[in-house]
Subunit: 250 residues, 6 copies
Amino acid sequence: MLRVDSRKADELRTITMTPHVNKYAEGSVMIEAGDTKVICTASVEERVPPFLKGQGKGWVTAEYSMLPRATQTRNQREANRGKLSGRTMEIQRLIGRALRSVVNLEALGERTIHLDCDVIQADGGTRTTSITGAFVALALAVGKISEQHKLNKFPITDYLASVSVGIVGNQAMLDLNYAEDSTAKVDMNVVMTGKGAFVELQGTGEEAPFTKDELNSMMGLAEKGIQDMIERQKQVLGTIGDKIGAVTHA
Amino acid sequence: MLRVDSRKADELRTITMTPHVNKYAEGSVMIEAGDTKVICTASVEERVPPFLKGQGKGWVTAEYSMLPRATQTRNQREANRGKLSGRTMEIQRLIGRALRSVVNLEALGERTIHLDCDVIQADGGTRTTSITGAFVALALAVGKISEQHKLNKFPITDYLASVSVGIVGNQAMLDLNYAEDSTAKVDMNVVMTGKGAFVELQGTGEEAPFTKDELNSMMGLAEKGIQDMIERQKQVLGTIGDKIGAVTHA
Amino acid sequence: MLRVDSRKADELRTITMTPHVNKYAEGSVMIEAGDTKVICTASVEERVPPFLKGQGKGWVTAEYSMLPRATQTRNQREANRGKLSGRTMEIQRLIGRALRSVVNLEALGERTIHLDCDVIQADGGTRTTSITGAFVALALAVGKISEQHKLNKFPITDYLASVSVGIVGNQAMLDLNYAEDSTAKVDMNVVMTGKGAFVELQGTGEEAPFTKDELNSMMGLAEKGIQDMIERQKQVLGTIGDKIGAVTHA
Amino acid sequence: MLRVDSRKADELRTITMTPHVNKYAEGSVMIEAGDTKVICTASVEERVPPFLKGQGKGWVTAEYSMLPRATQTRNQREANRGKLSGRTMEIQRLIGRALRSVVNLEALGERTIHLDCDVIQADGGTRTTSITGAFVALALAVGKISEQHKLNKFPITDYLASVSVGIVGNQAMLDLNYAEDSTAKVDMNVVMTGKGAFVELQGTGEEAPFTKDELNSMMGLAEKGIQDMIERQKQVLGTIGDKIGAVTHA
Amino acid sequence: MLRVDSRKADELRTITMTPHVNKYAEGSVMIEAGDTKVICTASVEERVPPFLKGQGKGWVTAEYSMLPRATQTRNQREANRGKLSGRTMEIQRLIGRALRSVVNLEALGERTIHLDCDVIQADGGTRTTSITGAFVALALAVGKISEQHKLNKFPITDYLASVSVGIVGNQAMLDLNYAEDSTAKVDMNVVMTGKGAFVELQGTGEEAPFTKDELNSMMGLAEKGIQDMIERQKQVLGTIGDKIGAVTHA
Amino acid sequence: MLRVDSRKADELRTITMTPHVNKYAEGSVMIEAGDTKVICTASVEERVPPFLKGQGKGWVTAEYSMLPRATQTRNQREANRGKLSGRTMEIQRLIGRALRSVVNLEALGERTIHLDCDVIQADGGTRTTSITGAFVALALAVGKISEQHKLNKFPITDYLASVSVGIVGNQAMLDLNYAEDSTAKVDMNVVMTGKGAFVELQGTGEEAPFTKDELNSMMGLAEKGIQDMIERQKQVLGTIGDKIGAVTHA
């Protein structure tokens, strides 16, 4: 079965990562996965949230937003509605949690890194693309403060990337675009490390429950896709990437 | 290794389900899992949200809240802060999505069922306990409107329950209480149907990534725990339960 | 004239007070007045609000809420509407003010006691029942910190309870349930101390103004009802109750 | 005992009512009680709130606000804080309820009268002064639409005014100013009709409970003060006042 | 061409400034321009906002609001809608900015002056009238703290007033009332100092763009109108006015 | 005097306009003015806001936002603070008003065009750059619906662009970047049409008032800069631009 964009079931969309797209941010990247485009910036702040004060630990947190016309139909801005939607909160909690899983917060020191993922154009997979891009922005920012000799050890413990998988028709498929996503009976987002361990697994079968076999097929695709993503991250990060993994997660 | 409350790794906490605890609600149950206590009510409203008007379909939606002193330390009410936390939104979206996966909305007709899950006391697993209880409240309410001959077919397609599993120390464990949950390196919530298919899978390894083997161990425990939960649901629902599965999910 | 539930005009509904219903709260009680059920918890916090800092005085404050299906028709949660209704704010101000009238705040020391009154099921008189129950939760919590030798003197100066009275038809009646309340032409909430003095009096004749004679009849009923309530409080509090009144209100 | 401003215990402050202070409002008055100054406007809207639609009845509602520097110390605007305080909500609910008690809503027809009470300067008794002034604005507005032959019957059933009383030292006093109010051990607001019946009674003894005798003394003072207020209303309203009482409250 | 109120094109409406209308505020004035009436109060607070702490400088800030029935049709209160409108925010930012342009903040010392402009009745030009009145309230308040020897130098550097001009029909006109404003094709608000320099210029031709010649005509009228306004300010301020200009703007 | 980036006083920064940057929007452009980058999209909605319903007229409205790290220091998202800042509201009101001045709303028909101006990177002049870019997005969108034969006449009446001018040191300068803007004593934003008439003029001399001569110098620079901008717009719009001006503003 050919997919709408002629990809094979286990094939990623065209992935592009353009680093340094923002002149102010300590780390930034424009990541594109097919027609999905996300600007990820990492901002370093030399203090931590109140709940961490004085503990010698840092913090990594994320925010996610879509421009109003990132989608087929224009969406109302959340700033106008006066509050974040449940979907946005869920996504930004996921991004932050995922990134913290590969950061040794003690080694980061008492500073906060804010990851901002702003979706410029959306065509499926915005949350997984945001995680993959945010990792790059984070590594670039950490690389920068590392060069400034503010860190004793490089605090990133492993690579991290994410991809979506799903069951469309009766077939497991990798990296769904919007058209596939809206007809999928199962939708799963997977976050994995460079060493191949799971960090997050969120599968939902609102349209139809799924079996263990289907779960296994999807996991296999996700594993392959994420390792491909991590290869691209390595190319973009260059020598900064070599420092990853010097310490382990606390 | 013995657990803090002397349970075996694959043992549920004491589960109690007391139906009809509210004199107004069409369906209600107080569900207790160890020291976690949740009042679940199902309220039937004879109309649907605007986005479904005129489509001949119903809707099932959920809200979740904790009393301020449900926990060790008193929490500020979300009504006072003026907005729901990300955690609350994530949980109530999960509950609603899970329940809709076993309801044929066409068979329900143009009405909404509101599930309210109010946590009276929390000791871990409040979201999974809420799903298991909400299913009972939902079935009781559907049973009631079915008796009033408002339905052509009984719209619930299968049983549904949920449980948490995790890796504590190096061991996979079923149905974590708060003490276990706060030391677990992996925390996973699983929702399954009576036929044993997955509806939701949410695993997070913020403290440490997890392997495929660990994932498989957790899934095995979850499967067993959920089938036990469904046995209790059957006892509480009695003859209403016999009508479940007459139609399939649309 | 017989009342809808066969009570006499000066008869309270069945009152039940179940203490220690919450394993975390310093004081807690489930109070039932007929079909009205309220969980009252008292939470002790070892600091005071900013406006009292450094004055050597404590604070007592209350919050009130109803579960969405506490009533015949489901109500929207105030957390969803993003703000408290005027009715809720009025009630929680009343509860806090009433309880503070029998607490010597200097003797309490620099700590805050939060009373949470959560209405599980409502059938009239939820605010008066909340006050009566909150007093018990407060006394239990104060009893607990007294046992921990944190207090020089027991800071509660007198018993306190509350009841509603009204004019239904042309007759003054005690402790209205919802059916009576909605046809009453006058509705009055009275709070009194164990010594029989008034703390709060809130009477409203939106449907029809009332005369001095009617006021006097209602006051007589309220006095009797409140002394009955206080008898129940004494039974529940036992020896803790013996310490009440050791100091006077500052 | 002489009062701070040399008044006798049963003496009102200087009362002034200046009608027609607003060129747009259907009814308006500036009411002054000592240094308390309130602009009351009545705005007629030819429709009713959703909950009354199609019932052939009207509605009367009130809003209350203080200018930021109405008081000794500047207060933050509620519009800036993004929500009304509990105090404001309590007061505007009271004003609306009190005024509705003397309006036959069927005779008013399907229209809403909005009473706005804006406190320009506050020196105690702002809520009672607002009620007394709002009644005048309401009567002027009803007089105006009556002249336009929009009403079959004059819908105001009786005069209505309000005053505060309290126990200062050990003496009951009428119409407390701010200095007295802040030292009073009991504070009571009373609303009465022209025929001398009670509409609202709100007494609070946060500082000290009060006895039946004290209650009676305060009620006597309130009765006298309110009848004096109503005399002033009659002078301001002139012939419009003659139409009051033609119908009774529904 | 005669104007609706028989004024000449370059003629101001009747201007009245009544100082000391508020017994609490350090400075206050009721300013009337035709039927537009604004109460302006200046409140002195002996501290500065966080962003200025410890810099030895003061702050001047303004808030603007309209009573609900200041206009032909009643407006909803912004406190009820839970937020300020864009129009209100724009106006109060303008008032604050304009006043700060004639205050030497170092000479003011570490204190804040809050200007509150509350529109009691609106008939066009409420923002310009507010600026002119707020300057008087500010000068009175500064005069008062100057008399208390809290200031080394009088910190107001120049007089300041504001007026609106516009093109109605094809003619430039000064000080538009509401009827003129709503038919004007161009509307311009001008703020100038006593020395005749511009502080703010806000012209908008939503209905039709305007030429340089039209701009020049409007500027000429504004200049004349503002100098007239400043004459009135001088009369009201008396000897306080003589101190203005002792220091220059920092 | 050379400027920080070696420009002459009357020289624009490098301007780039990249059309069609968004695959969903009816019109879109990325506009760059030096390091200021704004994505402008125009979204066509086939209905009008309630206040225009049934009048046969269309509407044009704008929203403005900055990504959190568009600036040197990261800014909190307005969606997180729960409300728009006064600055944002002021800017988006300005953009909408300016664009409506060159659209014949009757000729547009009953549809709304939403202009979204999202600042990706900010280096001064974001509001003027947004207006210039939004005009291009608007024209592209109108061009598109015109091609679909939904319009009888092309509703855009003239070109429109905007630029900032200011007094830096003692010299009038065109198109200030952030470094210049923060030291300018006067800052003025000018919006003009292709025919050279003024649409908006907003000048503010918070740091120092300005003279008529300075105003005239600034206006001259603005005129030149805006005509340059309009030349670029013409190149981007091509044949669509030829239709502009077929009708006049209503």
